[in-house]
């Protein structure tokens, strides 16, 4: 129950994987899972985007050496260095220090080659992967196809307790076809398979590894010490296979501080040089201190006003539209998120996504029009209960602003704050008017499939539009980029206009660091450079 | 000869909770010659202890010595600094406190405390001090002188502790010893041994002393001269024989009169009346009830008594003998485990719950401490009026009129009606206590130590009131006390309790004469008389009495361990029954004829 540690949940597909796994583990229907998977398959553009690793252009020449201490959030005795078992951001941060995957995702979520030298497919079903030669594990052993097969096949073993079982289950056959070549056969075609391989759970460890607490991988850092729930110490891997970039630092000590205040104080006191997950109110403080900086990672995370279209008063479109117009997006961005958010337009695809429809007219705060609509809906003078909870980031404050705006429009809002515990099972999608919080998804297709398709299990507002469903299927099959973009734009317009969801802003992820720490830049894959800061940062002593 | 102690114009001030300082000792002067004992006598609040402590340069918390001089030998005490005072205390002037039980540190062995001052003042080394202490124990006739020092204070009886404290004071051979009511907390039978030990020690060592007490008879045994104090002022200073023979000051005369209470004439005459109260075969106690229906701690056993209508029965015994429990059993507060209580021919239920309201009304209890017997939060008219409402349903003007009558009856001004008990003096509170009991118009009044907490002069007035009430209302009373003089002054019959059993009953007139139970005899002989040679002449002083009364045993006579006439094989095997003795006495002793 530590304060605020859930304010900004993990940003990207990591949480998605996790959710998938949990859904599976707990008996979610197969159809849901298949839907999610196929969505992944069609979502990412393939072909020429599989480029080799290349360091980003940096303003300064990185220096080698130095030690830093980094505080993530959330830590427990369940901390692990087993790639298959990663659950929290702390695990991802550590595993990216010690391991690599066959691919990795770049800042626009496209897959890049990492330990794979090439990836080819036959109708997206049989995949042939050439493994990079001359790569050494931390224990000196050279990477070969056996290690890849071992690392992937582990996920089929129930005893491993992988968190990526659903994704792994699509691989029906994993065999070596040479010392450095692996053939993987899938159950069905999945053009997005390289994206799957780039997810954190499919990192490569040496064949036969049983004790993962030593963190033996090919990654930029070697594990010197690891105590679950306490800390890890990583030292530079001098034999790192990737040339022309990091690792730069001699040593990284990494641990978790669940309390955001303590985390900020630790940074300000000089105890640590980098902290993940800062809240907006602390950001100002950090910036006011000399020698500290905030790294803002824009994301598709949003907290939305959910109006059930199948219940009163949401069954009246005028009410829904009126409420959307009562959201003072500027004030929400400024007062609640201190500017660390982007104005959204009641549709879920964030600007960073290449399918983002930028030309839909921005819905504005318009109390007069809202009053007219609400009056038309016949709710003026009545009292509407609105449920908020700390579980949905910022919803309490958003509710307050909504309440004030509604008062001007003659609508009384009874703001009910309910406990974060049990919010998702007891209130979310059940109350007529409430709030939700949706983590970013890597593709528009996934977002739409999960939250807007008529049969989506998390169709928050109960919005049903057969035309939307048809478009969604068509877009998934469409390979012409221009046509596809138009389809996604149309779908965004439909959501914007008629769904029961009001999305005021996209919330940025915030990390903070000492100015001496260089090489950080926001990555679309998530906070802390998609958790892979270790390889890229250096210390300007 | 220059006096050893010379106190001139001593003034001591005390802070009060309200704010201003008040003077509690107002210019007291007296002197004591070497080898003599000065007695300081007065009632509570007279400043006697404060003065005694001041001779050691000591004032209790909140008090300070504000003026005057205190010279002891060559030393001017008021001019001493902290270090000088430390050197004076315990070395030149030693102190013996009222309650030895409270004045011994409970967590240190006795010997360490006895020799402490000798070691602090560096007078001798530890073995020598121990040796000397053991010698003093012997001189004080303390049993087991070799080993008693290894015990802790709680393992030793009060009388022994008091003598051990005297040893503690004498270990440094001080010039002056302050005795601060050293026997007040003791039972009379114990007091006599302690007094004897003190007197011998004083005589043997030619000790100069200041002896503080409220008991004229006690001080008469020890002091050479007496200073009478009242409200922090000296009333009279005289040699002891002179004061006893011809007190000059009026207050001294009052004290003297109160010390030897006059026999009040009993309103009853003859033996004709039928008994109002009869208690037979009664046993009672506290704690869990055992299989045999008897409580774990038996306080009273096989009690038999009757009180004739209009009569006054005095119950006497030392502390812990069960006399207060007797009153509680009769009132029903402590249900008897066995036996019957019969009032006016009707058997009463053992507990309150089983008695009718009328029965409860007929027996009223008056407690010892008026402070705790009156609810401090309830005004006087409500205290007295409640029984009127409760028993007679009186209200309003009728009740108020009756309250006034009762106040009048107990000689209280009507103005006390709306006061709280805290605003009243001790004597007034006790009168309210009576008024409340009388409001119920009881047949039987149980008085538990009603005068013990009062100064003698005030107590005498209460006794007068009781006699008056008996005469006017024809009350039957049971009067419980540890003080034989008080009982003798107002009672028709006397019952002696020892260790939970009745050992003797007698008519009050038979007290000075007749054959008594050995314990009753001891009790009689232990009450100090107002003459200077009483201690030397009383036969009780020669009785070898030691130890605390043992727990109530069923195997033999409870007095056996202390009894001079005890016959092993007889007295320790069977409980002696009450047997008639000439003179209207009944005594529970096998060896009555042996004396």
């Amino acid at each position: 129950m530590s304060v605020n540690d859930k304010d900004f949940p993990g940003m990207l597909n990591m949480s998605e994987q996790d959710r998938l796994m949990r859904a599976l583990r707990s008996g979610a229907s197969r159809r849901d899972l298949l839907g999610m998977m196929s969505a992944l398959g069609i979502g990412a553009a393939m072909g020429g985007t599989l480029i080799g690793a290349a360091g980003s252009a940096l303003a300064q020449t990185p220096k080698k050496g130095g030690k830093i201490r980094v505080a993530g959030f959330g830590t427990s005795t369940a901390d692990t260095l087993d790639p298959a078992k990663q659950s929290y951001s702390t695990d991802y941060c550590r595993c990216t220090m010690f391991y690599n995957g066959l691919t990795e995702l770049d800042d626009r979520l496209n897959p890049k080659l990492a330990l794979a030298e090439s990836i080819e497919s036959d109708k997206a079903t049989v995949w042939t992967i050439k493994v990079r030669k001359g790569v050494q594990f931390h224990n000196g052993k050279e990477l070969n196809a056996e290690d890849v097969v071992f690392s992937l096949k582990r996920h089929h073993d129930p005893a491993v307790g992988t968190k990526a079982k659903a994704l792994a289950d699509q691989m029906t056959e994993i065999v070596t076809t040479g010392t450095h070549e692996v053939k993987i056969t899938l159950k069905g075609p999945n053009a997005d398979f390289p994206v799957v391989l780039g997810t954190y759970h499919f990192m490569i460890a040496p064949a036969g590894t049983t004790d993962f607490n030593k963190g033996i991988g090919t990654g930029p850092y070697k594990c010197k010490e690891f105590t679950p729930g306490v800390r890890s110490i990583a030292v530079r891997n001098e034999n790192y296979w990737r040339q022309g970039g990091g690792p730069y630092l001699d040593e990284i000590e990494f641990f978790g501080i669940p309390d955001v205040g303590a985390r900020v104080n630790a940074l300000l006191a000089g105890d640590v040089q980098l902290i993940g997950n800062v809240n907006p109110t602390s950001a100002k403080l950090i910036l006011s201190g000399k020698g500290f900086n905030i790294m803002e990672t824009k994301s598709g995370n949003y907290t939305d006003l959910v109006m059930r279209l199948d219940q009163a008063p949401g069954n009246n479109p005028d009410f829904v539209l009126g409420m959307k117009m009562l959201m003072n997006r500027d004030l929400i961005r400024r007062n609640i998120f201190q500017g660390y958010a982007e104005i959204a337009n009641d549709q879920p695809v964030p600007p960073m996504n290449r399918y983002h429809a930028a030309d839909i007219p921005q819905r504005k705060y318009d109390p007069d029009q809202a009053k007219f609509l609400l009056n038309k809906a016949g709710v003026v003078g009545s009292t509407i209960p609105v449920v908020t909870s700390a579980a949905a980031t910022g919803s309490v404050e958003m509710g307050l602003l909504l309440q004030q705006a509604a008062q001007q429009a003659g609508l009384k809002i009874d703001l009910r704050q309910v406990p974060a515990d049990g919010y998702w099972s007891n209130y979310w999608m059940k109350v007529p008017v409430g709030y939700g919080n949706i983590n970013p998804r890597p593709t528009a297709d996934i977002l739409f499939s999960l939250f807007y398709a008529s049969n989506a299990s998390w169709n928050e507002s109960g919005w049903k539009d057969p035309k939307f469903d048809q478009l969604l299927l068509a877009a998934r099959a469409e390979t012409d980029e221009a046509k596809r973009k138009q389809m996604y734009t149309d779908m965004q317009v439909m959501i914007h206009q008629s769904s029961g969801i009001g999305i005021p802003v996209f919330i940025s992820g915030l990390d903070a660091h000492s100015e001496k720490l260089k090489g950080l830049r926001p990555m679309g894959t998530g906070s802390l450079m998609g958790y892979s800061f270790a390889e890229h940062v250096w210390l300007d002593a | 000869m220059e006096p050893l102690i010379d106190i001139r114009d001593l003034r001591i001030r005390a802070r009060t909770a309200e704010g201003p300082e008040i003077e509690i000792v107002k210019g007291v002067s007296f002197s004591v010659r070497r080898g003599e004992v000065m007695g300081l006598i007065g009632e509570s609040g007279s400043g006697k202890t404060t003065i005694a402590l001041a001779t050691m340069g000591y004032a209790r918390y909140g008090c300070r010595i504000a003026g005057g001089t205190i010279r002891i030998g060559e030393t001017e005490v008021t001019r001493l600094d902290g270090k000088g005072l430390q050197q004076l205390r315990g070395r030149k002037v030693a102190y013996i406190a009222q309650s030895a039980a409270a004045s011994f540190n409970p967590s240190r062995p006795i010997m360490a405390q006895v020799i402490e001052s000798a070691l602090i003042h560096g007078l001798m080394d530890e073995p020598a001090a121990r040796e000397k202490a053991i010698g003093l124990f012997r001189a004080m006739a303390i049993p087991h002188p070799e080993t008693i020092g290894n015990r802790y204070p709680h393992q030793v009886s009060g009388g022994q502790l008091q003598r051990l404290m005297a040893a503690m004071a004498l270990i440094t051979d001080p010039d002056v010893v302050i005795f601060d009511e050293p026997t007040t907390a003791l039972d009379v039978t114990t007091q006599i041994e302690v007094l004897k030990a003190f007197k011998e020690a004083i005589r043997d060592r030619n000790t100069t002393g200041i002896y503080v007490t409220h008991d004229l008879a006690v001080i008469a045994q020890i002091a050479d001269s007496i200073t009478v104090l009242r409200h922090g002022e000296v009333q009279e200073i005289a040699t002891t024989p002179a004061l006893l023979a011809s007190p000059a000051h009026e207050y001294s005369r009052k004290l003297l009169a109160a010390a030897e209470p006059a026999l009040r004439a009993s309103p009853v005459t003859g033996e004709t009346s039928a008994p109002l109260l009869r208690v037979s075969g009664m046993s009672a106690g506290y704690g869990l009830i055992g299989k045999d229906g008897m409580p774990a701690v038996l306080v009273l056993r096989d009690i038999e008594l009757t009180i004739g209508r209009g009569h006054a029965l005095g119950v006497i015994g030392e502390s812990g003998c069960g006399k207060s429990t007797l009153a509680r059993v009769i009132a029903g507060l402590t249900p008897a485990s066995r036996g019957t209580v019969t009032l006016d021919g009707v058997d009463l239920a053992p507990g309150i719950a089983g008695r009718s309201r009328e029965q409860l009304r007929e027996i009223q209890l008056v407690f010892q401490m008026a402070d705790t017997a009156l609810n401090p939060k309830v005004p006087i008219d409500e205290i007295i009026g409640r029984p009127l409402t409760f028993f007679f349903g009186m209200k309003g003007a009728e009740r108020e009129r009756r309250v006034r009558e009762l106040l009048d009856l107990t000689h209280l001004p009507a103005s006390v009606r709306d006061r709280l008990p805290g605003d009243l003096s001790g004597g007034q509170k006790q009168r309210v206590n009576f008024a409340r009991a009388l409001a119920a118009q009881p047949k039987l009044l149980l008085c538990d130590e009603v005068t013990s907490a009062l100064d003698t002069v005030v107590a005498a007035a209460i006794l007068d009131l009781m006699v008056e009430l008996r005469r006017e209302l024809g009350l039957t009373t049971m009067f419980i006390s540890h003080d034989l003089k008080t009982i003798r002054a107002i009672c028709d019959d006397i019952m002696v309790l020892y260790s939970g059993r009745v050992v003797e009953t007698m008519p009050a007139a038979a007290l000075e004469t007749g054959h008594h139970h050995p314990y009753a005899g001891l009790l009689l002989g232990s009450v100090p008389a107002l003459r200077t040679d009483w201690l030397e002449t009383t036969p009780a002083a020669s009785l070898q009495v030691q130890g605390v009364p043992p727990a109530l045993s069923s195997g033999g006579c409870a007095f056996f361990p202390r009894c001079p006439r005890a016959e092993p094989g007889l007295c320790d095997t069977a409980v002696p029954p009450l047997r008639p003795v000439p003179g209207g006495i009944e005594a529970a002793c096998f060896r009555l004829d042996a004396a």
Partner: protein, 283 residues
């Protein structure tokens, strides 16, 4: 002469003491008034976002600055008084009332009733109060009635202990025996004879308990389990404005001062009203 209730009546300490004897009850009364009538004097809507920066300093417009959300701090503290003082007062009253009644009953009835209830409440004492509060509030939700009940339950055993021992002491006094011997009912004895003599200790205990309740409520609020936004008690105010601490923002310092001023004032008021002795046996 042995009286232990002396106090210094000379020198500057005396003036200070006398001053505090006047000021401290005034502070207590002030906060009580704010709790009951504060909404009439608050300059702004405590939940209303003003046209202001975050963590503004003190100004003519916002006497105590603004909070992390741009709301007027003075109005929020005044509104918070209602929760902090109100909840604490209710919880303390509940705990003390229950403690007094149970203590009275235990002393008057005794026997098995006394033993059972004493053992039961003793067991409750052994659970750390914050943990107990945490579990209870988590179990029942952080509504105000639940907070009041939780705080009352947490402090009931302590209240009971104190009041039982006071009641037992009073019940052993002779005037109670007199009433018993008169045949008065247990209820009469409890209410008319024993209770009036418990008033001093009960009030002293009430005051102390109140302080503990205020502090525990603040701690619960700090852990996010107290009064829920947009309403806020003082502890919640401190917590939600914690990021302002480094700037020395009045938004975080003022509610903390409010808590401290209330607890200290209550503490010292009890001290001067009942003497330091009254409280020292209490915990």
């Amino acid at each position: 002469m042995n009286s232990a209730t002396f106090s210094v009546h000379r020198g500057p300490m005396a003036i200070l003491a006398r001053l505090s004897r006047m000021i401290m009850p005034a502070i207590v009364l002030f906060w009580l008034a704010m709790a009951f009538f504060g909404h009439w004097v608050a300059p702004y809507d405590p939940a209303g976002i003003q046209d202001a920066d975050l963590f503004e300093g003190m100004s003519r417009k916002f006497w105590l600055g603004t909070d992390y959300f741009g709301r007027d701090m003075l109005s929020r503290i005044i509104a918070g008084a209602r929760y902090t003082v109100g909840i604490s007062l209710m919880a303390t009253s509940l705990a003390v009332t229950a403690g007094v009644l149970l203590g009275l009953a235990a002393s008057a009835i005794g026997g098995f009733f006394d033993t059972a209830i004493s053992r039961f409440l003793d067991a409750l004492i052994s659970i750390p109060s914050k943990m107990f509060g945490l579990v209870l509030v988590a179990a029942l939700g952080a509504s105000i009635p639940v907070l009041v009940l939780t705080l009352a339950v947490i402090y009931l055993p302590g209240c009971y202990r104190i009041n039982r021992s006071v009641a037992v002491n009073v019940a052993a006094l002779d005037f109670v025996a007199v009433a018993r011997a008169r045949g008065e009912s247990t209820f009469y004895i409890m209410i008319r004879e024993i209770l009036p003599n418990m008033v001093g200790p009960v009030l002293a205990d009430f005051g102390l308990r109140f302080i503990y309740v205020v502090l525990l409520l603040s701690s619960l609020s700090f852990l996010g389990l107290g009064v829920q936004p947009p309403e806020a008690d003082w502890g919640s105010l401190v917590r939600e404005n914690m990021p302002g601490l480094p700037y020395g923002a009045p938004a975080v310092i003022m509610p903390a001062i409010a808590i401290a001023s209330l607890t200290i004032a209550v503490n010292l008021t009890i001290d001067s009203a009942f003497g330091r002795h009254a409280r020292e046996g209490i915990r």
